[in-house]
């Protein structure tokens, strides 16, 4: 049904294990969202896709360019979903993705323009809201991230928000420790230890342990010649101290490719104190991979399976936590997101 569309994200609902949502747009038509309840055999378009409120007469209103991120709601709220858009907007569905409403507490927040920086403050293909994280202990506790804008937190189900960026570098801004305006690329919350957050940022890799509010730059422990720039970040499903990143070249004009043309994932098993290179099976040279922020993920197996997709249309997999890599698909279009799903009931 949506052959040829750009799919920025596709997620299976972990609560019912059958509702699959996919965001979709073409280069030329407006954005939409499709739903399947039979693992993709049949798709039905959302009857009311995410859209900003219509502006009062005479005022310029915001327009959703694409739906970028999907997050299933809290386990206690079956059918609830959140979506993040470009330009940055937060939307919620109560009916398994069929109809969507703006989360006014964020989209209409008096600080929205300052926090989001407007439509110019973002990635080259548009500013994005992403990494919508719902605390598994409390459906009212939500984190979001914006490129650009930073990380924000709500403890009242999106009615109010506060920045959560202390300690994070923003070397593209003129002030040393701004409250907001940062560029998180991917933020993950560990479901078994929900007070631990990890962040791959435009300016490094960070860890935050709540109720603390100051991020610690654990990427400073990465090899200096590799640096700690990248887009995705994947967590171990059972060990909150283990995570994987996929470094990109963030020097000069930001090539966004594997440093030196030698792609590798890096793992830490001690919450960022030390990092180990994982490149067996990957190209030894001339491998100019770009892996986007939703482009790497882990499964729930023992040992953990890891997967990443490249903008060159390849999917690579490891059955042993990154110990060895194999290319399992090639000649695909640009890959925006790779997700795994647990189909066991």
């Amino acid at each position: 049904m949506f052959f040829g569309h750009i799919v920025h994200h596709m997620v299976l609902d972990p609560r019912d294990k059958r509702t699959l949502l996919a965001t979709a747009r073409t280069g030329h038509l407006g954005p939409t969202l499709f739903r399947s309840t039979d693992f993709g055999r049949n798709w039905k378009e959302a009857s009311k896709p995410p859209a900003f409120q219509k502006a009062p007469e005479g005022q310029k209103g915001r327009v959703v360019d694409h739906v970028f991120w999907l997050t299933p709601g809290h386990a206690s709220e079956p059918g609830a979903w959140y979506a993040g858009t470009s330009p940055q907007g937060l939307f919620r569905s109560e009916d398994a993705g069929d109809t969507w409403a703006p989360v006014a507490g964020f989209n209409e927040h008096p600080m929205y323009m300052e926090w989001s920086g407007g439509e110019q403050a973002g990635t080259p293909d548009g500013p994005k809201m992403h990494s919508i994280l719902v605390d598994p202990r409390d459906s009212r506790h939500i984190y979001i991230a914006m490129s650009g804008g930073g990380v924000f937190e709500s403890v009242d189900k999106g009615a109010n928000w506060r920045p959560l960026n202390s300690g994070v570098a923003a070397d593209f801004l003129p002030i040393p420790d701004p409250e907001y305006g940062h560029d998180p690329h991917c933020v993950r919350l560990h479901s078994l230890a929900p007070d631990i957050l990890y962040q791959q940022n435009h300016c490094g890799i960070y860890r935050l342990e709540r109720p603390g509010t100051r991020w610690d730059r654990i990427g400073m422990n990465m090899p200096k010649k590799i640096g700690d720039i990248g887009f995705p970040l994947a967590l171990h499903p059972r060990d909150p101290a283990t995570l994987w990143v996929f470094p990109m070249d963030g020097t000069t004009v930001w090539p966004r490719t594997s440093p030196g043309g030698k792609p590798a994932a890096y793992v830490t098993r001690n919450a960022g104190k030390t990092w180990t290179r994982l490149d067996k099976g990957l190209p030894r040279s001339q491998g100019w991979f770009t892996v986007k922020r939703q482009g790497m993920t882990a499964d729930a197996h023992e040992p953990v399976g890891l997967y990443f997709g490249t903008t060159g249309g390849e999917v690579w997999a490891s059955k042993n936590e990154g110990g060895n890599w194999t290319c399992i698909a090639s000649h695909l279009p640009e890959i925006y997101a790779v997700e795994t799903a647990d189909l066991v009931r």
Binding site: H28, L29, G30, P49, K54
Partner: protein
């Protein structure tokens, strides 16, 4: 009246390139079209009621840029998609 549908939107019209819809204005016509082919309007018109950047709408051969244009039952509406890139 007769409305010509471009190929990127024919998944909504059962692959038909020409369909019937009614309305006293272009806005009403697009609402009627959406009631017959749910979802088609938002692909062409954004939430601020603007015609999307790569969509062109012609009435009797003349391009229109607003939705409040009046229509007669004899008018022919052509929707085109302006493909770019490469």
């Amino acid at each position: 009246m007769n409305v010509l549908i471009p190929s990127p939107l024919r998944s909504y019209t059962g692959e038909r390139s020409s369909v019937e819809a009614a309305g006293a204005t272009l806005a009403a016509l697009l609402d009627d079209l959406n009631s017959r082919y749910p979802g088609i309007r938002f692909r062409m018109i954004d939430e601020q009621d603007a015609i999307r950047r790569h969509v062109r709408i012609f009435i009797n051969g003349e391009q229109v840029r607003e939705l409040n244009v009046p229509l007669r039952t004899t008018d022919e509406v052509i929707i085109l998609q302006a493909l770019t890139g490469g």
